[in-house]
Symmetry: C2
Subunit: 468 residues, 2 copies
């Protein structure tokens, strides 16, 4: 468990605000211990810092009302979706109000002809894709968890498809948002491109609820490809697999997914998902395109992989086999946990320039061994992004200390390679020290000036991204 | 000629600053009339508002020095590249110092393995592509003019390739920038994706020199495709051509370029470029991919075009024929001017959701006729972006008034279709009134708060994007 400093609480303000909100929202304003704890829950080892109350909002107007009340009394307000973020994003270090947006779960419009749609923040990515399927459309961003679109927007999520389709920053056209004073704004039109003033859309994407509350998201969609095929290929070493990824990207092959699993993860999957894969590093791929196109992509990849010592290359267009492969990839987290029953898993999330991927993954593997840590690696390798998940004995203080040291070392390694300490999980509470290391104090000061300008009383998700 | 309000001048400050800069920069600080006028030049009918002096900077340190001197004395400072912007971006309504960045023209590094490079702002896109060619790489953004990468970044430029490769916002990985107090920051690492704090890269892309001076740009590059083919197809009406574009995008065909030219432009090109095209609306296309891939794309497009009444469809992989087609497209501006010798051409730049493209272009055509204006249309149609260029008799006051009315009508039309008044030219001085119409006062107020936070004395390119 990592302790996080609590911030000064505005007790009087919180009491007043809770009184007002209970009046307005009745049963939709909850203060019970269990609900509060659940809304401060994070999926990591960061300690729980619950809010003082949880409001279940059903409209933009209600979000604006809650923000206005909180603004009047200088009380913190924190947005909540599915609670699947990993760096303490939903914690309430100064207490305050959590606003649960999961009842705002409507797909408001789908413009199939324009390949876009407008949704409320509580729509999950799976719900959206189920909704879209009949129209031959899909939304490609896939962070693993069935996260809410609002949360994915707020944390600039990405995942397995980002190598082809980009991250949330590339797939949000426009936002409706409630600013710190309760004003509702819209950041952009529905045009596919625009040069109309500052890019407020991109400023809010990834701002982790610290600059505004996102109440509607207009997303770019994709047509479901004519053909999809999947492939897997084994490699003698993580380095060889990484080199195959580098060759694929440098070749310009438009892979839709190219995921790296190290030998330990493959071993875990064989046990957990009843597979029979060679227990060496593995790449899983997906190709999207026309029938001829995906066949050509698979063939080209097979050639590139062979040059790096790849073996057992097998491509398949069968839906059943494809689903089996990708289900295994999605099971990786649970499979890894099963490697060490009862352990805590702590995810890291570095991303380096692709030319450094083999070096970074290899160094990561060696350092984990040296520090006597269990740290299986999966990666969205086509972006240079990988996660070493530390499997830690909760009772072993020394191991926890070594894990903390390892995480710090890995973040520094990525930064030294001109990479980032967070490819897709965000800064939250956990990575604030690294933000300055990565970008410098001057850059973080500019972020602080923007925060101060848009939220002068620091009521929007305080203690995240920036100090204080 | 459109007059633009002058802003209050800080005469004492300007005098002091010029004294200091002449001391430091000698011959590289110029105050002659011709040089000043040239640096306030815009390629539109907006009047010239020259700066008081022009400094030719050669390094980030020098840019920082100039900004510090201007900050100390609250004197405006305006960045200048090739001067090809269209909305008065380089005008100096309050006087001050223009900083010419064209001597900062070095490609600082190319990381071929990572498909990225780092350049100074004065590198032009053609110079960059010449530099990259031997390594099998190219930078896809093509705004027509041989603009500087710094200017393209500052105005969020795009152009013919944006339908496939995105705009500057999608192709800038990181920036070095000098803030209003002279501090030098870097906005991001070289990782292909990151969720490390606020997206300052995207905030500065398109900020038109009003938030910072951009001194280095890290760009994503593309591998030169294995195969490129071009195609053309004629249509009976602009509406039919637009419908073919809509069908192509909705199909998900990954066209690299899909440009619309109306009958008047085709007629102009036949005269200017000695071509023999049917004088009806025309689509010009380019396909990038493998040999088999481009052939398949061309075939699919041919099928879609035929359904919309397309005729004379011809695809070619011949470099010579391709160059001839695209040279004609690039000559369109000059060809249009030749339609009415001695005229002024004033470009509009609306962008609408693709489903509204046919309606918008048709309405534009009809309104121009109704208002007795000559307004040939070319468009980056795959993005829903098109330019009606008004060919105006400089001596005819009434025609100028009608043109102004037409521009206003067209911007309002795009906004009413949930589109934008500026797909790629920016707001500058010319489009400030429409920014509020498009996004609302609340949104523009948020932009104003950011401007105030990062440039409290309003010295960075005052009078652009925002009021004042």
């Amino acid at each position: 468990m990592v302790e996080v400093a609590a911030l000064a609480r505005n007790e009087d303000g919180i009491g007043t605000v809770l009184g007002i909100l209970k009046q307005q929202f009745g049963e939709r304003c909850q203060t019970g211990e269990a609900i509060r704890q659940q809304h401060g829950h994070t999926t990591t080892w960061i300690e729980n810092q619950p809010p003082d109350g949880v409001v279940f909002a059903t409209s933009t107007q209600e979000v604006s009302d809650v923000v206005r009340v909180c603004a009047d009394h200088k009380v913190p307000i924190i947005a909540y979706g599915t609670g699947t973020s990993l760096e303490g994003h939903v914690n309430a270090p100064a207490g305050g109000i959590c606003i649960d947006l999961m009842q705002m779960d409507q797909v408001l419009e789908v413009n199939a002809a324009d390949l876009d749609c407008r949704v409320q923040p509580g729509v999950t990515r799976e719900a959206l894709n189920t909704y879209l399927r009949d129209q031959g459309l899909f939304f490609p961003i896939d962070p693993g968890a069935n996260a809410s679109i609002g949360g994915m927007t707020a944390t600039r999520a990405s995942g397995t498809n980002a190598v082809r389709y980009g991250t949330m920053k590339d797939n949000v056209l426009s936002l409706e948002a409630v600013m710190a004073d309760g004003t509702v704004i819209r950041t952009a039109s529905r045009a596919r491109k625009s040069s109309a003033g500052y890019d407020l859309t991109r400023l809010l994407v990834g701002s982790e609820g610290t600059l505004a509350m996102i109440t509607e998201i207009t997303l770019r969609l994709q047509g479901i490809p004519e053909a999809i095929s999947a492939a897997r290929c084994s490699f003698p070493t993580v380095e060889a697999a990484s080199r195959a990824v580098m060759a694929t990207i440098q070749y310009g092959l438009p892979v839709a997914r190219i995921e790296l699993l190290d030998a330990m993860v493959v071993q875990a999957l064989n046990g957990y998902s009843k597979l029979d894969l060679p227990e060496t590093p593995l790449l899983l791929l997906e190709f999207h395109g026309s029938d001829a196109g995906v066949a050509e992509q698979a063939e080209t990849f097979g050639m590139l992989a062979e040059e790096e010592g790849g073996t057992g290359f097998a491509a398949t267009a069968s839906l059943e086999e494809r689903n089996k492969l990708w289900q295994a990839r999605h099971d990786a987290y649970w499979a890894m946990l099963a490697l060490r029953p009862g352990c805590d898993a702590v995810a890291t999330d570095v991303c380096v320039p692709i030319s450094r991927l083999a070096d970074a993954v290899t160094a990561c593997d060696e350092m984990a061994r040296e520090m006597d840590l269990i740290a299986p690696v999966v990666g969205h390798a086509g972006d240079g992004n990988f996660h070493a998940s530390l499997l830690i004995d909760k009772a072993d203080q020394d191991e926890q200390a070594r894990a903390a040291e390892f995480i710090s070392w890995l973040n520094d390694l990525a930064i030294s390679m001109d990479g980032t300490c967070t490819g897709e999980h965000g800064i939250g509470q956990g990575k604030r020290p690294y933000l300055v290391k990565e970008l410098g104090q001057g850059t973080v000061d500019v972020m602080g000036a923007i925060k101060k300008a848009l939220d002068p009383d620091n009521i929007l998700n305080p203690g995240k991204i920036l100090p204080g």
